[in-house]
């Protein structure tokens, strides 16, 4: 939709072709590009016409009959406008869009219709300050920056954030009062501008309505039941949700009765531990392993005790280490055997 305000640009039709250049053809040890005719100047014989040539015409010269504007279906456009207006009534969305609305008494903010008769900016500023809306204006003021990019040389030097949008019913001077305040935009309720209601396609602009503008909304867009008077045969689109209180729906008896029980997420071990090394993991898999290990330790202990008792009986000094005990046992066993023999 932003494309609709564009002005056409194009290269001159004649650009690059204002020569009688002709190709020299083959056989002259030069490229076959058309060359400037004539003589007496360094330009003669130079390549011409091609987009690769110096002073040649560009590739695909831009034309004015480019499609500059975009048609949007009327109903789609109205749907968007209506959605943007609805979004401006939700403080969460307005704040998410970035407006400073924490000091406002209420969202949507509706002001008495006498604001439409304001003529001085002083009064306008005073009103904004009283409403707590001036924070948004100040945010906008502080955000004035030089545009990055070539636009700065093309009369689009500064960029500024959007502040409040003031919507009025009848302009009795309000436009002139508010228009010089940085960031503030104005709009008549009878011709709401979607580019202002949802700048950049993001809904939730901070809107200040005049009372009469707010009242006029019903006649502009229709209420849910009654058709609009200012638009022929138009009514508000049906809501996607009849009841938007999702928390209440979720926690209602009807839903909870049909809901499955909470799934217990299976504990997935990050690493498989080796049961042959890790005792706890082994016991988890085979609880009997504890008894087995204990029995093994006990039997080894009693075996060693029996061995030392044996050695003591045979008159061999018992060694501390089992390996040494074994070594001691071997010659001890060999000695009585030899003695027997």
């Amino acid at each position: 939709m932003h494309k609709n305000s564009r002005q056409p640009y194009a290269v001159s039709e004649k650009a690059g072709h204002q020569h009688s250049a002709e190709s020299w053809g083959t056989g002259r040890a030069v490229a076959r590009i058309p060359r400037v005719s004539g003589g007496g100047t360094s330009r003669s014989g130079q390549g011409a016409f091609g987009n690769q040539c110096r002073k040649g015409r560009m590739f695909a010269p831009t034309k004015v009959w480019r499609k500059w504007h975009r048609k949007i279906n009327q109903n789609q456009r109205r749907y968007a406008t209506v959605s943007a207006v609805a979004a401006s009534a939700l403080p969460a969305l307005v704040e998410a869009r970035g407006h400073a609305i924490s000091n406002l008494p209420q969202v949507p903010l509706v002001v008495d219709s006498s604001v439409e008769k304001f003529t001085t900016t002083k009064k306008a500023v005073a009103l904004l300050k009283a409403l707590g809306a001036y924070n948004d204006v100040e945010k906008s003021k502080d955000s004035k920056k030089v545009r990055p990019g070539v636009g700065k040389m093309r009369n689009r030097r500064h960029v500024i954030k959007h502040g409040p949008l003031v919507v009025y019913n009848k302009d009795d001077g309000i436009t002139r009062a508010f228009r010089n305040i940085p960031g503030v935009d104005l709009c008549s309720v009878h011709a709401l501008n979607l580019l202002q209601l949802a700048p950049g396609g993001h809904v939730g602009r901070f809107v200040i309505w005049s009372q009469s503008a707010f009242n006029a909304l019903d006649s502009v867009f229709g209420s849910g039941r009654k058709e609009a008077t200012e638009k022929v045969g138009y009514n508000l689109p049906h809501a996607i949700l009849a009841n938007a209180d999702i928390a209440r729906i979720i926690n209602s008896d009807e839903v909870q009765a049909a809901v499955k029980p909470v799934k217990k997420s299976a504990k997935v071990p990050r690493q498989k531990k080796n049961p042959l090394k890790n005792l706890n993991v082994l016991l988890k898999l085979n609880p009997y392993a504890q008894t087995q290990k204990r029995a093994a330790i006990f039997s080894e202990k009693s075996h060693r005790e029996r061995l030392t008792a044996q050695n003591a009986k045979r008159g061999v000094k018992a060694a501390a280490k089992p390996a040494a005990a074994k070594a001691a046992a071997k010659p001890a066993a060999a000695a009585p055997a030899k003695a027997k023999k």
């Binding site: 531990k273 080796n274 085979n286 609880p287």
Partner: protein, 263 residues
């Protein structure tokens, strides 16, 4: 933080909120909040109850496992002792005791996947040896012995002992659960699939495999093909039969040494 404790915490906070709301300012508690508190309390009570019950059943489960494990340990020891006794008896009487032919084999794929004849390829697929160093337990009967013989140059196989079977299942054991390769970190992994055949723990599984029980097929198939490492210390010669001093083919009891280097 377990789900049980967060339920309890949430419920507790809700109770406090309700108490505060109704007592201090006399503002009515929103119906949805009251309902949620009610629901949460019921849920937490149910959870505590089920936890207590689960603990009881788990205890019984583990006691049964212990009992069966002891049975198996006694069985293995008895079989071993019996074997020794029979051999000694035969020797004393001047006879020979002929060992029972092995019922269980463990086959490991030795060679890679390139340049394989179609029949060999198919047999290796049937044996679930699709990757090098994959190992599977195989029940030995005429059919499988012929299959192993046909793919001999690509595998090495032998008769695993109890220690080998145990170490494979414990260290490298993964089960096929819902077509996924799940590590055997809990007996529930086994019992969920093989519980219907009376195999509920790793010891049951090891017993079924080692003694080639009535549900060997299901037990062995439950086990995903073992992904073994290359043997520490290397092969001698993959291109020759074990009998020739190489590695492939039937190597009987020597498979245990190889597996201890691979697992």
């Amino acid at each position: 933080v377990s789900t049980q404790s967060t339920w309890g915490v949430r419920f507790f906070i809700l109770l406090l909120y309700i108490r505060e709301m109704s007592a201090s300012t006399k503002t009515p508690v929103p119906e949805s909040v009251a309902k949620k508190a009610q629901r949460d309390s019921a849920l937490s009570a149910a959870k505590i109850k089920s936890a207590v019950e689960a603990k009881k059943t788990n205890r019984a489960f583990r006691q049964a496992i212990c009992k069966r494990a002891k049975q198996y340990a006694d069985e293995y020891a008895a079989n071993q002792a019996n074997l020794v006794r029979m051999k000694r008896q035969a020797k004393n009487n001047g006879n020979f005791y002929v060992d029972e032919e092995p019922k269980l084999a463990f086959a490991v794929r030795i060679r890679g996947i390139n340049a394989i004849a179609p029949r060999t390829k198919k047999i290796l697929q049937l044996l679930r040896l699709r990757q090098i160093h994959n190992g599977v337990f195989v029940k030995l009967n005429k059919a499988t012995i012929c299959m192993l013989r046909l793919v001999e140059p690509y595998i090495t196989y032998g008769y695993p002992n109890l220690k080998t079977v145990r170490s494979l299942v414990y260290k490298r054991g993964y089960g096929k659960v819902n077509k996924q390769r799940i590590p055997i970190t809990d007996n529930k992994v086994i019992s969920s699939v093989l519980g219907q055949h009376g195999i509920q723990s790793t010891e049951d599984l090891v017993h079924e495999i080692y003694t080639v029980g009535p549900h060997f097929k299901q037990a062995a198939n439950f086990l995903w093909p073992f992904k073994l490492s290359s043997p520490l210390g290397g092969y001698s010669q993959k291109g020759k039969h074990f009998v020739e001093g190489g590695d492939y083919g039937d190597r009987a009891e020597e498979i245990n040494k190889l597996i201890s280097r691979m697992a």
